[in-house]
């Protein structure tokens, strides 16, 4: 009963999902009752599995959803699929979308085998425990189910697993081919989970996910999650091992392995069966891939050496180069499989337009696999050969007791992967293989994962088919070998259940607890060497708030650069984020280059950072789905293709040779066959949806191919003939070697023929056919043509943006994308719908150019000697930049990105005080918008607003003239019909255009307006009025004395301003209250009247390393949060830092603050007097408030200074804001370094001068005591939160060349020591008192101030 129920809901859900979002809730309700009432999405108490799955599954879901939405109209109804799917599959699979999603899941899963492999290894270490664990796990899971019905998600996953196991085997369980199905089944479980999660989280989340999905998240996610799970819990793997040992039949064994020791193989199978064929195919593909991989391994090893796993990861995963090769390979295998079974393939295609081959039903798949083997004995042979050879190694390496031959194969894989982290040798070998056939890597455990993530699904499972279907015993073994990999996904879950081990559990509990946030995650990511944990976290990051993760971006990227295991774990996440967000991409690229700069010689150990950066900068990470309509599973593979393709081009020769060398000709032909499919199908589909989206999605060649094809879309089917063309196109792409291509072509042709005969589902074929003619022609033209086409495509994309980077063009920040200015986009805008860019225009370029322009100014300023020169140069340069605004660029320093920069009030920019570096501060006018990357860029409004409006009046005034002549270049011929005939040329008499009119008195109104803005003293205003309205003859008299008095009053009135000093232009600019400045600029700005207008400011610094500043910013931010959590009034002001490179960046200016030096210089008062001057007498409320602010901020910063050992604390580096807070800036000297060659000029813990104490009210005053109390409280609080602060610094120390870490790890240790973790509060109090005391009486502070005065003139 329970089982059935369990079983059903998932299907329901899936179907619902496929149907659409809104329906989900109902589906969920249906699902929930049996298992559990819906509960919070993330249950802290549940195992990670659930959470992971949720996340991922949701992601998947999106696919479904989107797909379904897309295809809704076109949808292939259940009937079509019906025949294909033996079972419940019908219910399940009405939507190909769902299937697709599942498939994807599967694809992700097989990497799991890697994890399982890891598990196995570990398991082998602890064989005795395994049994108990298994038991525990099972009991555990059941208990959980019973006890915690509330957690829908978890249950979902559990249920799916358990339920399946319990269920009687469905009719279809029979197939041996289903070997890999275990995985599939799991996936079903996932899909089930998905809906639930869905439900719980509500629509919003779904949407979010949908967005994510575009970025190809699903693959990554699932994969990683599963992997992480499995790896993290070694137990689970061990379990699986056990089972494998006890396995009854070879096939069963495989299943078990895949499932990680689930006893109920049959159910699994059945599940698999009902699940879409795609699932199967996936799993099988995994196996195939592995087999192939084996093959390749050999060849690969023969071919050449490779750097190592890192390399592999980077390249493959990153998808730049390595991918294509594997892809091809896989696709080859797939194609082979499919070829015979035209019917299946077609169906599958109907299933999912995108990847027809992949979609083929289980049966078809199997058959295909079989056939393929038959057809291509050579291939199978290869596989066979390959399979045995690896066996020995793993077997030797592992102590798995009773491993069968086939089992060993998988285990070997796993072991390899497991060892990948630690074992370099193994790695290398595997990596080589991987590199050669990245696709294959999917079959492999750990190292494979990343790649598999990147790979388009279709590839993956396509390849697997072959192996899965292999009839021979050896083939079986191969399959099994694969199957573990495929089945791995299932394993993790079980593991999670079964993970009773105490050690695991606490970690798990921690990870699943509410406490687990990004700060803990980052800590474990750094500290844990366990790949499982890392992967888990890597996946878990998908569930964190983006902003939360972003905060740790420097840490993440630093780890990415320097720790390749972490890099692997977080790579998917980074990729995903880069795809989804331009901002993230830009930031990441900056940080990567900033932190990678330290490594002088890039090698395999640290090159991944650079590679990722290059990938980002080369715009390889674009959103994978171009438009909402285009969103579909099909599009995903596409996105991936993008990456793989470029590589294609470059590598294919290479690849070819390898193929020829390593394999028989047949694989090549496969390759050829599949590739086109994979290319063409999505194209066709996309083109069906709308011609253009393809271009966006599809990278180079693909896009070029697809574009020409679109026009033909109306042409109905040539059957599947298109395939031929595709193939041939592929050929063109692939084959430089004529022979190969020929061979391939022949095969292809044959295949297509078959297909066309088969029950062609018209739709797909039609779509295909559209592109075919063009494609074929392209084939003829050959490779070069395609390439060229690609180039032109790119240039076209940039055609509009030819001027990018050229400031004099006025379009320097224009990417040339006009997608957002089209009418469609406008409509979308009005409807609040996001428009997606559909052209190939660079996404990041405008922003990069904008920042580059600003930084270049900084560089130019450095060359100038005087402030005056710098200022005028700055203004001139900014005016030039201004010409190019508004543009789709934003100020990275701002906290919310959604704005467009419209203008830089260039005359307001100031050069800051610095001798050799020339930092400058500028103000930036922005217009807020809904979404910076999609909203319309505001139109240019000319500077001279007032006059401009007047010009328009002119226009209306002369309408016929101005207007008419404007519109029609040839005015006269048509002028007779123009609305204002008098404007025709010959009618000089009737309308006398009086150009003097252009200079009417209107300006007086303008002045009046301007006057209204400034509400200064009204006395003279009165006189103005009286003078102007003095038509009355009685004379008005004024006293000369009054005039003079007003003058002197005006000037002696307490000024809130500093006089402008050409030697220190920033002082006056900074002193002006921000509100005043905003109002002033707003009044003069042509955009000022717009409601979404905002003023921002930024300091641009070139030549300074801001990475330390960034670190301090993070620490301060963290401290601030900690203190806020403890409700302490300590005040600090972390100001945002954007590091754009090692020696440049931007700083968020502290508003309304001037340095103590400037105060002293301009006011010539002591600090206390200045307080009195600014805030009023000592007893006034304002003063007291300011004083309190001062004390609180002082306490905060004293702590900071002490903890971080901030040095170089002269008065130029200490600001005082308009509320009395002090703010420390310039964190160039922290931790272990200080100015003056670390001689210890400033040896006091912090800067606390008598002047400060004076403001506090003097020694012993209440406020001073309050200060000390605050210090203590702050200290205690910071100590409490130490573990959130330390990792920030610690991680950045890794591989860092930052000067503050010049003393290496000891800097960290000293930092840690300063928290005095062991001291009691009483002791702490003493310590604080001591610190205050010694700071107060520090001689060096005074000395340092004096030193600064004499050397730099800083008061």
């Amino acid at each position: 009963m329970a089982t059935t129920e369990l079983k059903d809901p998932p299907f329901h859900l899936t179907s619902h999902n496929s149907v659409r979002l809104p329906q989900l809730p109902s589906a969920s309700s249906a699902t929930s009752p049996p298992t559990s009432p819906p509960a919070g999405a993330h249950q802290p108490c549940n195992h990670q599995v659930s959470s992971d799955i949720q996340v991922h599954s949701t992601a998947k879901h999106h696919n479904h959803v989107t797909a379904s939405t897309e295809r809704g109209s076109r949808s292939f109804p259940a009937p079509v699929l019906g025949p294909l799917l033996p079972h419940p599959g019908k219910a399940l699979s009405p939507e190909e979308a769902a299937a697709a999603a599942d498939r994807e899941v599967n694809g992700n899963y097989y990497p799991h085998s890697a994890n399982s492999g890891v598990g196995v290894k570990q398991g082998s270490d602890l064989p005795s425990k395994d049994c108990s664990f298994a038991q525990d796990s099972s009991s555990n899971s059941s208990e959980l189910v019973l006890k915690m019905p509330g957690h829908a998600c978890r249950f979902g996953s559990d249920d799916s697993i358990n339920g399946n196991s319990l269920r009687p085997a469905p009719s279809n369980a029979d197939d041996c081919e289903v070997t890999a199905n275990g995985d599939i089944r799991y996936e079903c479980g996932d899909s089930q989970n998905v809906p639930k999660r869905y439900r719980e989280n509500g629509l919003r989340e779904i949407d979010f996910q949908a967005v994510e999905q575009q970025c190809g998240l699903p693959y990554v996610v699932t994969d990683g999650a599963l992997r992480s799970l499995s790896s993290s819990s070694s137990l689970s793997s061990s379990l699986s091992c056990q089972k494998s040992e006890s396995a009854q039949t070879g096939s069963h064994v495989t299943f078990q392995i895949g499932e990680n020791g689930l006893p109920e193989d049959k159910e699994n199978n059945s599940l698999n069966n009902h699940h879409t064929s795609s699932l199967t195919s996936i799993s099988s593909s995994a196996s195939t891939s592995s087999s192939l991989y084996l093959k390749r391994q050999r060849s690969g090893s023969a071919t050449g050496s490779f750097d190592g796993s890192l390399e592999r990861i980077v390249e493959d995963q990153v998808s730049v180069h390595p991918l294509p090769a594997p892809v091809l390979e896989r696709s080859l295998s797939c194609s082979v499989v499919e070829a015979p079974h035209s019917r299946t393939s077609t169906r599958s295609s109907s299933h999912d337009n995108s990847d027809s081959a992949s979609c083929s039903s289980v049966e078809g798949m199997i058959l295909g696999g079989l056939t393929s083997h038959h057809n291509l004995p050579s291939n199978s042979e290869v596989i066979d050969n390959a399979a045995p050879s690896p066996v020995p190694d793993p077997a030797a390496g592992e102590s798995v007791p009773a491993a069968c031959d086939w089992t060993t194969v998988p285990s070997k894989d796993s072991s390899q992967n497991a060892s990948a982290g630690s074992n370099k040798e193994n790695e290398t070998s595997s990596s080589t293989v991987d590199k050669l056939y990245p696709g294959e890597t999917a079959g492999r455990p750990k190292s494979l994962d990343p790649r598999s993530l990147c790979l388009p699904l279709p590839f993956r499972f396509l390849s697997s088919k072959t192996s899965s279907s292999s009839p021979t015993g050896k083939g079986k073994s191969v399959l099994e070998a694969k199957s573990p990999s495929g089945s791995a996904p299932g394993g993790p879950r079980h593991v999670s259940k079964a993970r009773p081990a105490p050690k695991q559990s606490w970690l798990l509990r921690l990870f699943e607890s509410k406490m687990f946030d990004m700060s803990i995650a980052i800590q474990y990511l750094y500290n844990s060497k366990e790949p499982g944990v890392q992967t888990y976290i890597g996946n878990r990051m998908f569930s964190f708030e983006e902003s939360e993760v972003d905060f740790y971006l420097p840490q993440l990227l630093n780890m990415y650069i320097h720790m390749h295991d972490v890099a692997e774990a977080i790579h998917p996440y980074l990729l995903h984020r880069c795809r989804s967000s331009v901002e993230f991409s830009v930031n990441s690229a900056w940080l990567l280059s900033a932190f990678s700069a330290d490594t002088f010689k890039p090698n395999w150990k640290n090159s991944q950072g650079i590679k990722l950066r290059d990938m980002i900068l080369n715009e390889e990470l674009r959103p994978q789905v171009s438009s909402p309509t285009a969103t579909s599973p099909g599009s995903k593979p596409f996105g991936n293709t993008q990456h793989s393709h470029p590589h294609h081009h470059k590598s294919h020769h290479h690849h070819h040779s390898r193929l020829q060398a390593g394999n028989t000709g047949s694989p090549a032909s496969f390759l050829v066959g599949t590739l086109p499919q994979y290319l063409a199908i999505p194209v066709g589909e996309a083109s069906k949806n709308s011609g253009q989206p393809i271009a966006t999605r599809v990278p180079l060649e693909v896009s070029t191919i697809s574009q020409p094809s679109t026009p033909d879309s109306s042409v109905s089917s040539l059957g599947l003939a298109n395939h031929t063309s595709h193939t041939s196109a592929a050929l063109a792409l692939l084959s430089t070697a004529p022979q190969l291509s020929e061979a391939a072509a022949s095969t292809v042709v044959k295949k297509t023929h078959q297909r066309s005969r088969s029950d062609a589902t018209a739709l797909l074929s039609k779509q295909h056919s559209e592109s075919s003619p063009v494609l074929s022609s392209m084939i003829l033209m050959g490779n070069s043509n395609v390439v060229r086409g690609a180039d032109t495509g790119r240039t076209r994309g940039q055609a509009g943006g030819t001027a990018v980077g050229d400031l004099t063009s006025g379009r320097a920040f224009d990417s040339g994308c006009c997608c957002y200015s089209k009418s469609e986009a406008v409509i979308n805008d009005l409807r609040g719908v996001e428009t997606l860019c559909q052209c190939d225009a660079p996404r990041l370029l405008p922003q990069q150019e904008f920042i580059k322009a600003l930084l270049n100014i900084g560089k130019k300023l450095q060359a100038l000697s005087t402030k005056e020169h710098r200022t005028s140069q700055l203004i001139a340069e900014l005016a030039l930049v201004n010409l190019n605004l508004p543009a789709r660029v934003w100020l990275p320093i701002s906290h919310s990105r959604n704005h467009h920069v419209v203008r830089i009030p260039h005359t307001q920019a100031v050069v800051l005080n610095s001798k050799e570096k020339a930092p400058f501060m500028l103000y930036v006018e922005v217009l807020k918008c809904d979404h910076a990357s999609t909203s319309q860029v505001p139109h240019k409004i000319l500077e001279n607003t007032l006059r401009f409006t007047r010009s328009e009046e002119d226009l209306t005034q002369l309408e016929g003239g101005g207007d008419g002549s404007n519109r029609s270049p040839s005015m006269a011929p048509s002028a007779t019909g123009s609305p204002r005939p008098e404007f025709s040329v010959y009618s000089s008499s009737c309308h006398d255009f009086d150009d003097a009119d252009c200079w009417s008195q209107e300006d007086d109104d303008i002045i009046a307006l301007a006057n209204r803005c400034r509400s200064s003293d009204t006395i003279s205003q009165m006189s103005t009025e009286s003078s102007t309205s003095a038509d009355s003859k009685d004379p008005v008299y004024i006293a000369a004395g009054d005039i003079r008095r007003r003058l002197s009053d005006n000037l002696t009135a307490p000024k809130k301003k500093f006089e402008r000093d050409p030697e220190d232009p920033s002082a006056a600019a900074l002193k002006e209250p921000w509100e005043d400045k905003v109002a002033r600029i707003k009044a003069t700005s042509p955009y000022g009247h717009l409601p979404n207008w905002q003023l921002m400011s930024v300091i641009v610094k070139v030549g300074d390393d801001l990475r330390q500043e960034l670190l301090v910013y993070q620490v301060l931010k963290r401290l601030k949060t900690s203190w806020a959590e403890e409700r302490l009034p300590l005040w600090i002001k972390p100001y945002k830092i954007v590091v754009t490179d090692r020696d440049s960046g931007m700083i968020e200016p502290v508003l309304n603050a001037v340095s103590l030096h400037q105060i002293k210089k301009h006011s010539k008062l002591s600090l206390l007097d200045y307080f009195i001057h600014e805030f009023g007498p000592v007893n006034s409320e304002e003063f007291l408030t300011a004083q309190r602010n001062f004390v609180e901020s002082c306490a905060g910063y004293c702590l900071v200074c002490y903890l971080l050992q901030l040095k170089d604390r002269h008065n130029g580096n200490i600001l005082l804001d308009s509320e009395g807070h002090i703010i420390h800036i310039d964190f160039g000297f922290i931790l272990s370094i200080s100015p003056g060659k670390n001689l210890g000029f400033e040896n006091s813990p912090f800067k606390l001068t008598h002047e400060f104490v004076e403001v506090m009210g003097g020694l012993g005053s209440d406020m001073f005591e309050y200060f000390k109390i605050l210090m203590l409280q702050g200290f205690v609080a910071s100590r409490k939160h130490m573990d959130k602060i330390l990792p920030l610094v610690e991680i950045m120390q890794t591989g860092s060349q930052l000067p503050c870490f010049s003393k290496g790890i000891s800097a960290i240790r000293a930092f840690k020591d300063r928290f005095h973790f062991g001291s009691t509060e009483e002791q702490l109090q003493l310590i604080v008192d001591g610190l205050v005391e010694s700071s107060l009486h520090s001689l060096t502070t005074k000395l340092y101030d004096g030193f600064q005065y004499f050397t730099n003139g800083i008061l």
Binding site: S809, S1016, A1040, P1065
Partner: protein, 675 residues
Amino acid sequence: MVLKEKVVQIYEAFFHGEDPSVSNPNFWDELFLLKVNTQFIESEIDKLSGESLNNLKDNFNLLFYRASQALTGDNNIRKINALHTLCALVRGIFRKSHGNCGFDVINLLIGFDSAESVMQSLIESINMLLTGDVPTNLKQLSLKFMLVLVTATDNISQNTILEYLLINSVFESLVQILGSRTIGPVLGHDAVLLLTLLVQYRKYESANPYVVKLSILDDELALTGYAQIVSNLLSEFNRDYENQSEEPSTGWFSALASMVGSMFVAEEKKMELMRANDSLLLALYEATHLNRNFITALTHSHTPTPATTPPTSPAIAPSTVTPSEGSEKNSSPTQDRPASPAPTSVTTQPTNLLVTFLQYSSIVTQETKDLTRYNNAKLCLIILTCIAEDQYANSIMHDVNMTFRVMLHKMPMRHRKGRTEVNPPSRPLICSLLDLMVEFVLSHLMKTFPMDLYVRCLGIIHRVLCYQKKLRVRIQYPWKQLWTALISLLKFLLSHEGHLVKKHNIFHLASKVVNVFNLFVTYGDTFLPNPTSYDELYYEIIRMHQIFDNIYSMALRYTTTESEYKDSAAKLINHLVNIRAIINHFSPKVEAWTAANHLSSLTEEQVLEVVRGNYDTLTLKLQDSLDQFERYSEKPRETPFFTNQVRTIISDVRKSVTNLSSHQHDALLELSAIS
């Protein structure tokens, strides 16, 4: 018998009334491949009598038509030859018909029946050439042809063929050229010139679409390009001047040599330069006067490029220009502009057109004896008036953050060395403007009193003060300079009363001066930088009280006697009320104080003390409309001036475009090199 060029033979056939094309279908294609002999055409036309001219009408029409048709083809050589043919025809026939009605010419040239369509297609072709993807040379030649067309008559407004240019606008093409980064610098001058001239066509009588379009042009790039072109040419002039004036400092001998040299050469050169700049100034004027957005471009800071070389072409080829054009760009001659000497060092600092223009003005306004110079100076002052009236320009000029070093050149005078401050302080532009005005006031107190210029100068000062008063801008400026200068002006008026009053209404001028003082006196609190400056103002007035007294009595004289200036004099008296009140109030006080302290004379400080102590007892009369000024308006007052200016410019331009054949050769060479 001299061997004749083939083309000449063909021409002769034409002038004999034959139509050589009748038998040869490819005739026209071939003809335009031959090098045009423009001189022959023009001289042949010159030789023709009115009668025979009319007889040849059909042939002219045919030639014109065919030439304009040739422009639509794709052979660049044909296009060039066709353009030259057109130039020759236009020049020749217009020269013939001086004084005649323009329509006659149109009939002769194109034929009334087809004129409209032919001109339309011709201008369309020209537009294609200007905006299309053709060699810069060809673009340049098309511009030259347009200039030939525009300058065909002395009085541009009588050039009825321009009506077709109004109908078929080339404005957009010109704007595109101005906005272009690559061809702008090369063709900009001609484009600006053409635009300026087109704007002049019947601008006082009918609505000229070019006027309208220029006034509403809001393409920032084009405007900036426009400004840049003007700026480059002006700064070239400035550089020349600087180089000239630098020479004497090198040594006694060279000083002598250069003095001798400059007597003959440099002076000549200067004049030439100035005339060449007439058109440029007019262009600047039209843009400033007509287009509100141009002020932005006027004040757009940029780092000057060495003017001799056109701006380095950006790495990316612009859409309008073919890559092959890169070669031309460098070699392209900037025709009638003399190659300027190496730029001086100071210019690396960012500058803007306004800065350049102020420097230019300081040179041009130095001497006004010559009529050309006078007109130049006048135009400068008019432009400055326009600028001083503009809010935005004022706000830029007053921006303390926008400081510039403006090299204002001073004329050497009897009592001073003059010359230029080598390293002027970096100040807001308004200070430089005021300095310039002060300098002008001081340096033109001479017998040939440029009354008109003085009035304009004071108008500028007045406008600036009004802005400051209204927006309460306090600039750090040594106002005392201005006061002293103004008082010396009054003094000059007084001392040359007899001479000046015959020619000018000196009371009007004096009123203006006094009103500037009145502004300070009554509204000083709103724009003076500090109380001390207000005291100093009083000090100056008291110190020079005699001049004010005398002015007052002079005005009084004219009001009592019947004269044409009676009203003006009366007004002046009225305006002097406050000044006199101050004098009457303080003089006794000062004297009393002197007496009380037994001093023979007082130091400034002492007087200031007296002044400070006695403000409260002084009452001033608030005068009407002190801060009002009559807006500048070109029509009707300035019309004759501008008509005259245009006339000179037209004749200048016509001269510059008469000899295009040398260009023709170059162009053909280049074309062949390209193709």
